[in-house]
């Protein structure tokens, strides 16, 4: 029987193998027809919502289906117009700065808090003319409704996605987001409510004073009277408590010793008499009104509760009787008079006023909510819609010739006003326009402040997330226009189909599929034709293989960013030790051992792609010497700020820095130490490589430096840490290697300015550099660095900003907090047996801002 079992087993195994093998042979035999252009992707999260996608690969998938307001050209400058796949036909940005000199001076002072008035003369207007006739992939027109809907989602206080439009100070946005009118709005609202509440109080006091004639109005004021009486009771109690602390306030009336006595003085039950007897002497008398013998008067007690009740009821009557209408007409007249007096002169006047204000506000907001669907501040004042314009004059400075727009068709114009000036704000207005009718069921009515959102509502945001397949006006749409994510994203593949409604014309290739491929296998799959386009890691081992493959086209595109080694000044407080550590880093190992020809060494901490990277050409033009302190020296391989050179050269320079400059000595074990405030400090530091493996461009530099430094008397360890990047944000690492992803604009404020709120300054150790513990040299360098950054910000033209950035970069190097390492390329490979390489964006036009697929609607099979 066992034999039989084995036979069965064998046949089963063979059957399974055959099932697997059949398609294999089918695939192997004959020429397979290629239906879809297959693009490799890294792992996705599968969150394909335009508002909430955070993973870059998810965003790429979403981007396939979306049309943005703006795009960038190959140089990273804002681009729009009829020739480009964007929503904006024409635009204008106009900074207005009419601040007085006094205002400017005030703004330069530390701790300056701008006001609405300040920004009245200092703002920037952005105007965007939308194209007509843009359609979403479902044929629905793309209109201003969709544009405003997107902005109101992205600016909503409950929005938690990764778009940062809210970081731009759009006029009226803070008020809208907080639903708490601040600045001008706040003042306007406050005075409105002040007038309301003042009017109400005068009505109440008038009623109280003239109760006899106005008693018919009693019901109208019932609630306010009740509130006042409650608050007054609290005031009496507070006075009782206060009386305890006033025992020494009546030195001329030594008999006043008890808390209850003073309380009764406050309430006029015991009166004090001051009488001039002769020219000089004054006589002080207490008139007890029977309270000199409390047991004998009608209260018969000096207990707290009894006295408070007595004082309260004496003034405004007993609650029970008062509310039940059981008081006499005379009593009511007296009590109401007292209430009127309380509302004018007593402390209760203020607390009652506050209470009435809340009442008025909530009544007012309830009305607004009813009218406008739940909003206190129903819109963002800085975002407006100029409707149906055939001729339009853009905002302009006084005296300038204005830019105009004219067209036979009516166009819609989006106008955005931001406070102050922000050169980077424009990039926040390049958002992709998603269709409101797909993502929201809420109404849109611009004139009634309905923007298709429920402001501040988490439920609404969760509803937005329920649309799991992206829809938009992009070149491609989900295959079969499916709304089922399980169909759109299936088997680690995302399926697209061309959008026939696309504004740039019908895309050439009908189907595009993104396929998740393990990063290490990207070359193999393109080689085998499983995938046609991929971005493998740019390493010599990969590029060497590619060079031997005639059917693969290779693109090298500079990466927008650069690699660096950071040194935390608060962990390594001696600037000369930091400089010694930098000198120990042999940066050339990055190209010789890791990147080969796919990266180059850089000498300034900025991406070489950026115009801010100092270069010989600009130096020859005299750009750098045009400012005070500027110089034409350019750091390069022959003139490195922290030159390693040879091992011997490095050792002698490090010895000089550590022993001569920093004053360290060697102990009996040969370790460097220095006595600081009675304790011996050793040069014991950790060099950290981020990630879980040792596969990192800086690894060899670190181990080489470790050998060198430990041979000299340092105690260095080199570690890999998976959580290194999060440790960086809290400034816990001493020396580390990482890479910056740069933004299009090289503004360095957030990364290096002493007042920056970004976490990058934690990693540099600014907490130490800005403290009194820092050396004079360090503080001077940091101040100069900050000044240069501020100065550069005052110009718009790159040539004017360049010399200041060069100076700033030199100060960063002087501070020895960041050692620039490498500028690397990204690699893209295409299987040109399948894809017609002539339909891709040519290599010389590929930059960090546009890749070979930047005109994806033109790409075709061979």
């Amino acid at each position: 029987m066992l034999k039989n079992v084995s036979k069965k087993v064998l046949s089963l195994v063979i059957a399974v193998l055959l099932v697997c093998a059949t398609p294999m042979f089918l695939a192997a035999c004959g020429n397979k027809k290629v239906d879809a252009f297959v693009i490799a992707s890294d792992v996705m999260d599968g969150l394909f919502n335009p508002f909430f996608a955070t993973n870059a690969n998810d965003s790429t998938m979403v981007g396939m289906t979306q049309l943005s307001m703006l795009t960038s050209d190959k140089n990273g400058e804002v681009a729009y117009g009829d020739d480009l796949p964007v929503v904006v036909k024409d635009m204008n940005q106009c900074p207005i700065d009419n601040r007085t000199d006094a205002q400017k001076a005030q703004a330069a002072r530390p701790g300056f808090e701008p006001t609405a008035e300040y920004y009245e003369n200092y703002y920037t207007t952005y105007e965007f003319v939308l194209k007509n006739g843009v359609q979403f992939s479902d044929g629905h027109p793309l209109t201003m409704e969709d544009v405003l809907f997107n902005m109101y989602v992205l600016l909503d206080p409950a929005y938690s996605g990764s778009n940062t439009m809210y970081s731009t100070d759009i006029r009226g946005m803070k008020a809208y987001r907080s639903q708490n009118a601040d600045w001008a709005e706040q003042n306007a609202f406050d005075s409105y409510f002040n007038n309301q509440v003042n009017g109400l109080i005068s009505q109440i006091t008038n009623f109280c004073d003239n109760y006899k004639d106005l008693s018919a109005d009693e019901d109208k004021y019932k609630d306010y009277i009740k509130t006042t009486r409650t608050l007054f009771k609290e005031e009496v109690q507070a006075d009782w408590n206060a009386a305890a602390g006033m025992k020494n306030d009546y030195p001329n009336y030594p008999e006043l010793k008890e808390q209850w006595q003073i309380f009764l003085v406050l309430y006029g039950q015991i009166t004090l008499e001051e009488k001039k007897v002769s020219g000089k002497d004054t006589e002080y008398n207490i008139i007890w009104h029977g309270w000199d013998n409390p047991a004998a008067n009608n209260l018969g007690s000096t207990a707290e509760a009894d006295l408070i009740k007595y004082a309260y009821e004496n003034k405004v009557g007993e609650d029970k009787k008062f509310y039940a209408g059981e008081c006499s007409q005379g009593e009511y007249e007296r009590y109401y008079k007292a209430i009127g007096e309380i509302l004018r002169y007593w402390a209760t006047a203020q607390s009652a006023r506050d209470a009435f204000l809340v009442d008025i506000k909530s009544a007012y907001y309830d009305d607004i909510r009813e009218e406008n669907g739940g909003l206190l501040i129903p819109n963002i004042s800085g975002i407006t819609w100029e409707k149906d314009k055939t001729n339009y004059t853009f905002a302009h400075k006084e005296g300038d010739t204005p830019k105009t727009f004219s067209n036979s068709e009516k166009h819609q114009i989006l106008k955005i006003v931001i406070n102050g000036a922000d050169p980077k704000a424009i990039w926040n207005f390049g958002f992709s326009v998603t269709p409101k009718h797909i993502y929201s069921k809420e109404d849109f009515d611009y004139d009634k402040n309905k923007f298709g959102v429920v402001a501040g509502s988490r439920d609404f945001m969760n509803k937005l997330k329920e649309v799991t397949v992206p829809v938009g006006a992009g070149a491609y749409k989900a295959k079969g226009a499916t709304t089922d994510k399980g169909v759109f994203y299936n088997n680690n593949q995302v399926y697209f189909e061309r959008n026939d409604k696309f504004i740039m014309g019908v895309p050439k290739i009908e189907y595009i599929t993104y396929k998740v491929v393990d990063a290490d296998r990207k070359l193999e799959v393109v080689d085998k034709g499983e995938v046609h386009y991929a971005d493998p890691t740019s390493k010599p081992s990969v590029t060497n293989q590619i060079n031997g493959m005639s059917h693969i086209k290779r693109y090298d595109i500079a990466n927008l960013g650069y690699g660096y080694i950071g040194v935390n000044a608060s962990k390594i407080r001696d600037i000369n030790i930091r400089r010694a550590i930098m000198t120990s880093m042999n940066t050339s190992l990055v190209t010789s051992n890791y990147y080969a020809d796919t990266a180059e060494i850089i000498y300034y901490p900025v991406s070489k792609v950026s115009w801010a990277y100092p270069n010989i050409k600009d130096a020859d033009k005299g750009i750098y010497t045009s400012v005070s302190g500027g110089n034409s020296t350019i750091y390069d391989s022959g003139n490195h700020k922290y030159r390693y050179g040879s091992k011997d050269a490095a050792v002698s320079e490090i010895t000089r820095l550590v022993e001569d400059e920093a004053g360290y000595k060697k102990d009996k074990d040969g370790n460097y130490y220095k006595n600081v405030n009675g304790t011996n400090q050793y040069l014991k530091y950790e060099f950290t490589v981020p990630g879980a493996t040792k596969d990192h461009p800086a690894m060899d530099i670190f181990t080489n430096a470790q050998d060198l430094l430990n041979g000299m008397g340092f105690q260095i360890t080199v570690n890999t840490r998976a959580d290194a990047l999060s440790k960086l944000t809290t400034g816990e690492l001493a020396v580390w290697a990482a890479a910056w992803g740069s933004t299009i604009d090289p503004d360095m404020y957030q990364v290096y300015h002493k007042d920056s709120q970004a976490t990058s300054v934690n990693s540099w150790g600014y907490s130490y550099l800005t403290s009194d513990d820092a050396s004079t040299e360090e503080r001077n360098l940091l101040n100069q660095l900050s000044d240069h950054i501020e100065k550069a910000r005052t110009f718009l033209e790159p040539d004017q900003r360049k010399p200041y950035y060069k100076l700033a970069l030199e100060r960063v190097l002087d501070l020895a907090i960041e050692l620039p390492l490498y500028q690397r390329n990204n690699l893209i490979i295409v299987n040109k047996k399948i894809i017609d390489e002539n339909t891709l964006t040519p290599q010389n036009e590929c930059t960090p801002y546009q890749d070979p697929l930047s005109k994806i609607w033109l790409v075709d099979f061979k």
Partner: protein, 331 residues
Amino acid sequence: MAKYIVKRILISILVLFGVSVILYFLIRLMPTDFIDNAFASQVSQGVIKKEDLQHIKELYGLADKTFLGIVKGYFGWLGGALKGDLGMSFKYGEPVAKVIASDMWISFALAMISFILQYVISIPLGVKAAVNQYGKLDYATTVISMLGISLPSFFLSALIIKLFAVDLGWFPIQGLSDATVNWDGNPIGELLDMLYHLALPVLVLAILSVGGLLRYTRTNMLEVLNADYIRTARAKGLPEKKVINKHAFRNVLIPLVTLTASVLPGLFGGAMIIEEVFSIPGIGQKAYQALVAGDIPFIMGYNMFIAILSVTGTLLADLAYVLVDPRVKLS
């Protein structure tokens, strides 16, 4: 019996509660959280201010890191979970239950096929090896099974891919379907294509797991073969085939059944590394990435799913014991 099951289920609930408390606290005590990870670069470049980050953390319920805050967060999670709501995955943006339900079937198919292969191959071989102890077959299976047990899965996967996919070109390198083909209107072709793509990962999984089960079967068989009743059976003059297939093999089944029931979490829980290497979109791959990102609802949901499967698996194993071994009584 019914009383025993009820008692076991009640205990299981207690166990699951304990597991959930420990899990939740461990996750919340991790030094970083989802928002820190997701927004790290924007924060370090100052695009997002710390106040904004804090605001977002509040929206996600991660702002309060005090003990009380975590306790509150736990009961928030527990309240939802008891109502059947495992929450929205931070990373995947969909209800956790939905992500698990949609992604576990690929993992299940992968595990099930290799599971069947594993049993079909290793039990007969194990029995045969035991019967021919110290024979050629025994040594051969021992060597092969030791190889399978000791090879790391990523290494074996890489070897297999290099050999069968890259060099020989017989099988695809990655993924679950041929993306260059439009499968619309050809479901059978699509299914075959999927099986074709699953061949290598199944092979790797089978090679890795055959060894263990084979050794287990062999050891148990050897033990049984030395038992008194086998000697009695032989002494009675029963033919050797009957002794082995009927008397011995049936007794070997008892530990095997136990082992089978405990496979339950493995069947649905996914093979993290193999799914990652072959880019198979299963639950293992999803869970690994959620863990790295600090996606609390998903990590909780997934681990509780595994915990429930484990608890159920053990219960089923104990019950199966009664079925296959009449000597065992539950009380």
